[in-house]
Amino acid sequence: MSSLTIDKAGPRRNVKYGSMSRDRAWALRWSYVFLTIFAIFSLLPPVYMLITSLKSSAEISAATNPWWVFHPTLSNYMQLLSSNQFLRFFWNSAVIAVLVVIITMLISIPAAFALARMKFWGSAVLATGVFLTYLIPDSLLFIPLFKMFAMFGDWTGIQLINRWYVLVLIYPTLTVPFCTWIMIGYFASIPKELDEAAIIDGASWFQTLTRIFIPVALPGLIAATIFAFTVSWAQFLYPLVFTTSTDQLVMPVGIITSLVKGDVFNWGQIMTGALLGAAPPLIIYAFLMDYYIAGLTAGATKG
């Protein structure tokens, strides 16, 4: 009979007991690792752009370390900022973006308010429909739209193709559905009692919108504004298709068409132009971020 030894400590269990704080520390460490990787991944291109924008054409074409500037120069900046053409692109982009934001807000805010609050027949279907239109990519739409505007020009004699303001008409097809959609969400999150209180206080629908909903949903409005601005600022396909004359171009298209001549790429100025072009959205983000994050509805109701 074989002898049996009994382990007094009981059977060994292959389980590690971790404390909550250790778990949390572990999660934190890994999130830092991945965030760092992600930050490097997304920051490398702009850093490379900045480095290249500070180089002369000669240094760019010389086979030196691409990640270091040996003879920094601001000549690319000087040339672009003193070029009427570039300033024209910038101006066109700015005017279009501002007008598109205004048009988008004028349409989206009342639309979202109506769809979120005024219960009418088919409002839910309509709200979903608004969002579905956003899902149609612009690469599918640009040919029919071009045809439409060309026909419009033939019929009425009003030329819209190759005019910068045609973009003011086209961009809202991208911005209005999405902005309406996110604002429906913001408006729907406002407690119903708030508009009922306003209505009992004697406010009309319009006053309820302007004096209660817009101030309370300001973070949502700002998110929508940022979105509309960014979309119109960064659009490439539509301006490429609809505008051709140099004085009608917007920045993203203008940089490509004016700084790439045949197979000659003026890399220094392209990078400078792209950096300068990226500045306005960055500045807007920086200023509006606080509003964007602030939860303004706190205190309206319980909790």
């Binding site: 407690p191 009692e193 708030l194 009922e196 209180a197 306003a198 209505i199 009992i200 206080d201 004697g202 406010a203 009309s204 006053q207 004096r211 209660i212 101030p215 309370v216 300001l218 303004l296 509805t297 706190a298 205190g299 309206a300 109701t301 319980k302």
Partner: protein, 369 residues
């Protein structure tokens, strides 16, 4: 200030009838509380008075005018909501004056009214704060202030205290009563809490399944309920209901609860219930405070019996005792020094002078005076 009258008011949502033809006359200065379980139609009724819900049928009158198709802002009413519904981006003063500013009142008058309401509600120090800087009780005061400054014909309260903790609720209840005593505006107040209803109301309207069960002063509802629903809803712990029947013993009338337990009815009650057929299935309704320990000098109509206690709940000023009688749980209230213990037998006495007799099938209280 004005009267409010409801005439056969009906509210139907698709195929659900939330309010089934209610008639209610609220006189000027009166404080009316609509009370009932959730889904009884009390909030819908209030919202119809406010104009936030259309009425399917019937008439609502405020100050003698039919307001069925009058929009809320022209009904001259003010409403206080359960979740306060303060405008989060406005200060307390701006919240309170919003309605007056919309109506373009002179600035001086707005200021005077806001100051007066703030003083009345003791929120003068908070006037420049935003709602998120206020506690729940303070927010509810501001919501009341917003109603008061408008000086409307009618105040409507939709469960205003339900979001507050128990202690604050008691305090605010007293505040609301004080405010009403000062401003005397006709008030319709909705709650599911029968204590709030009893303490605040001039008259309580008990609602159930879209109908009014009974309208009456708090004490009347308590002592003289019309139906089993009202009898069971008003009062805490709730009234006990025990199956029983009447039987004649000589020229006297007995109420028989079980084969073993039967009590002779006191003469006044016997006269009251004489006409009820002996064969009917009845319920004895008796409030817990009318089942107590046996006292040495019992009055007429107080009948002793023995029970084995299941559970006792010491409340400090009294002890609640629970026992089972023919499968029904019964609650009594005894003196804390009466020696009630879990699982122990106890000699109790029921006060039949305060009993109610109900028809088991219809739930109607019989022989009401």
């Amino acid at each position: 200030m004005a009267e409010v009258n409801l005439r056969k008011v009906v509210k139907r949502y698709d195929d659900v009838e939330a309010v089934r033809g209610i008639d209610l006359d609220i006189s000027d200065h009166e404080f009316i509380v609509l009370v009932g379980p959730s889904g009884c139609g009390k909030s819908t009724t209030l919202r119809m008075i406010a104009g936030l819900e259309d009425i399917t049928d019937g008439d609502i009158m405020i100050g003698g005018d039919v307001v069925n198709d009058v929009p809320p802002k022209d009904r001259d009413i003010a409403m206080v909501f359960q979740n306060y519904a303060l405008y989060p981006h406005m200060t307390v003063a701006e919240n309170m004056s919003f309605g007056l500013r919309l109506k373009h009142y002179p600035k001086a008058e707005i200021k005077a009214r806001v100051t007066e309401a703030a003083r009345l509600l003791d929120i003068t120090d908070l006037i420049d704060r935003k709602p998120k800087q206020l506690s729940g009780g303070q927010r509810q005061r501001v919501a009341m202030g917003r109603a008061i400054v408008r000086n409307p014909k009618v105040f409507l309260f939709d469960e205003p205290l339900s979001n507050l903790d128990a202690k604050l609720r008691v305090q605010m209840r007293i505040e609301i009563k004080k405010v009403h005593q000062k401003v005397r505006t006709t008030t319709v107040y909705v709650t599911h809490d029968q204590v709030e209803a009893m303490t605040l109301a001039d008259r309580v309207v008990v609602m159930n399944k879209g109908r009014i069960e009974q309208i009456g002063a708090p004490n009347e509802l308590y002592h003289n309920p019309a139906t089993r629903f009202v009898a069971g809803f008003i009062g805490s712990p709730a009234m006990n209901f025990l199956p029983c029947r009447l039987e004649e013993v000589g020229d006297k009338l007995n109420i028989r609860l079980t084969d073993r337990i039967a009590f002779p009815l006191p003469p006044r009650r016997a006269a009251q219930y004489k006409a009820i057929p002996r064969t009917d299935r009845l319920l004895l309704g008796i409030r817990p405070e009318h089942i107590a320990e046996v006292r040495p000098h019992a009055e007429a109509g107080i009948e002793p019996f023995d029970a084995v206690l299941d559970v006792t709940e010491p409340m400090g000023m009294e002890t609640l005792v629970y026992f089972t009688l023919e499968g029904a749980q019964v609650c009594g209230r005894v003196n804390p020094n009466a020696g009630a213990r879990d699982g122990a037998p106890m000699r109790l006495a029921v006060d039949l002078n305060n009993m109610h007799l109900l028809d088991e099938t219809s739930g109607v209280v019989l022989g009401r005076v």
